[in-house]
Symmetry: C2
Amino acid sequence: MRLSQTFSRTIKTIPADEQAINAQLLIRSGMIYKEMAGVYAYLPLGLRVIENIKNIVRQEMECLGSSELLMTTIQNKEVWELSGRWDDQLVDVWFKSQLKNGTEVGFGWSHEEPLMILMSKYIKSYRDLPISVYQFQTKLRNEFRAKSGIMRGREFLMKDMYAFSRSQQELDMFYDQAKQAYHKVFERVGLGPYTYLTYASGGSFTQFSHEFQTVTKSGEDIIYVDKKKHLAVNEEVYNDQVLRQLDLKKNELEKLKASEVGNIFNFGKTKAEQMDVYFTDKSGHRQPVYLSSYGIGISRLMGVIAEHFNDSKGLIWPEAIAPALVYLIAIGNQKEAELSLELYNLLTAQKVAVIYDDRDVRPGEKFADADLIGIPWRVVVNSKTVTSGKYEIKSRSLDKPDYVDKESLVNQMSRIVSRLAIKS
Amino acid sequence: MRLSQTFSRTIKTIPADEQAINAQLLIRSGMIYKEMAGVYAYLPLGLRVIENIKNIVRQEMECLGSSELLMTTIQNKEVWELSGRWDDQLVDVWFKSQLKNGTEVGFGWSHEEPLMILMSKYIKSYRDLPISVYQFQTKLRNEFRAKSGIMRGREFLMKDMYAFSRSQQELDMFYDQAKQAYHKVFERVGLGPYTYLTYASGGSFTQFSHEFQTVTKSGEDIIYVDKKKHLAVNEEVYNDQVLRQLDLKKNELEKLKASEVGNIFNFGKTKAEQMDVYFTDKSGHRQPVYLSSYGIGISRLMGVIAEHFNDSKGLIWPEAIAPALVYLIAIGNQKEAELSLELYNLLTAQKVAVIYDDRDVRPGEKFADADLIGIPWRVVVNSKTVTSGKYEIKSRSLDKPDYVDKESLVNQMSRIVSRLAIKS
């Protein structure tokens, strides 16, 4: 994209009303815009990050054989009354309103119940199972406080997947595959080394649920990490008995703050019994469906990555989710601009996403914006390029640039694109 | 996709609670699911249609140089009070609720006002203009009645674009380009011949706005069409004076029902004056920004297409937006299944989207579903294929099949994909 024609603006000052590092950086770099506390719009560069994360998650969910659908924001009171979760005492984050005829409606803070009812219309026989569906959907939650930027919003984007199985064994098999898919997702977005499979409370359904917790100072959760085993225990289930059960030793654990970027949940057959979702098995008997659910906070993930990868100059996006791979700056006159445009076209033809900063502003402002926006590679075309044919290329996370000719530059970047495109 | 592993189910009976053809067909074919009147979830095949339409619209908006962003569903009362449109007397489709602290919030039925305020934070100087942004966003509208399926929902998907210009002349230039882009969109989704640029009321801002109206029996609007000039006049501005002005003759016009699939609106500088959105011009003077807005009802478009392209057997999707290009059926045993899988892999490798119906059901059911779902091309592999090497291929809109060898079949389909991928 050519920056002169794109809507993208950086802001010099730190927003006074934001405490969270992610919100400060994302607002300053022009990725998001605050509509109100916990409610953010995604500006073009930020939306690209969101779409890049979604595409990685989508690929991994498709590998699991899951089908994408899209539930609704407006929800039925009756559907939620089946599980008792319409009650504001039980679920304290509902936004509710009513239709013209007085019918009460809710706005989707979760889609578990409506999805169960939807699937119950289509699942009749064992032949219809196992089946899995997922969606990317905006969730609306009436949080009392919202101070963590896009790490805990009143409006946020989530991927939620649901698997319907015929037995506990079939459920467990999918559950394990999904666990591996989740590891791949966090690896691919750049958080692999900092993200731990974490034993957490299973509520009334099972002893444990599994969370994926990314270690970060701004996290709202406390976890106990065994770095060697790359496992963790959430504070909420941390006790001697659980440690014995998981074969973990107290003195090998580190107490750390973390943010829950994913969770997976095994409902067994309880939820289906509650909501009346049954299928007919091979011998003609009516059986409850086994349910498991799998969440990833897409916008929270973006926030955690922003908290994790930054320095005093701004953001440092991992290549796989950066709004662009290359930030291209021309310094000089006509000749330099021509070489830049040529390079821009060459890279774009190789499917390398490039931000070409062709704005009529000082070079210093372009350098500062390249760093603040956090594009992985910065390429400069200047008078030396004209005379020597060498282009200055610098990684956002290194201090010193390299000088390479056009062909190697294009090859290097296009190799990165190919590597990132490889599906798991 | 292999149907045995995909969540997709057709329904035999016509839903009793749906009057609209589009809803009946889309529910029966497993494209959508009714959550409540005017509120529909999109099942996997239906979501593919939506994404295909979005991609065509996105390409055309990007060609206009517009940048995609994403506004919020939860909206500020204060922002809407600036234009007076928070008032339920003025806007009777608001869903409203409140935060825990009692602050009233609205749910986005439109994004004009919040977008104006957002842009006002970034637009300072003439150097920041012209600029254009667009989004795909779910709109929530508390409609009194909702009987037209996805043609008028309480929850629906819209593309809305906004252009910010420095002068009426600059606005008019973009407006004309956008008009052409809109024609291309409707042409590409298959509605070109039935969609008319229509003169409609410009409200308090300008004499006319422009609608794009698709002729359809279930339309809610009345338009007067000049088929030769491919132009129309909305009933709301139809009078002798307007006809004279537009050089149209009463006896050359046909009165028809139509559905508004797009509209474009020229606000001039009025909206900016109302909402206090100004820029500094070259000579340092403060000037109001010129605004124009451009909507396309994405889910309505899907509904209109469903109303337009169907027969007694089901839907007939235009190739450009069909959930898949090919519906593949194997009849027979092991050998036929092997040839089908081979063909499936060959087509998929050429980026041809295929629904391979590998379910364990009677052939008759597969044929019926292929027709009901409305996939443009049906391919059958049977015993004759094994002996002669010929594959049966039939267009959804023709009665007689052709018999072709594997190579021509793959070539024919992959040529269609290439043709559809060509950007305007």
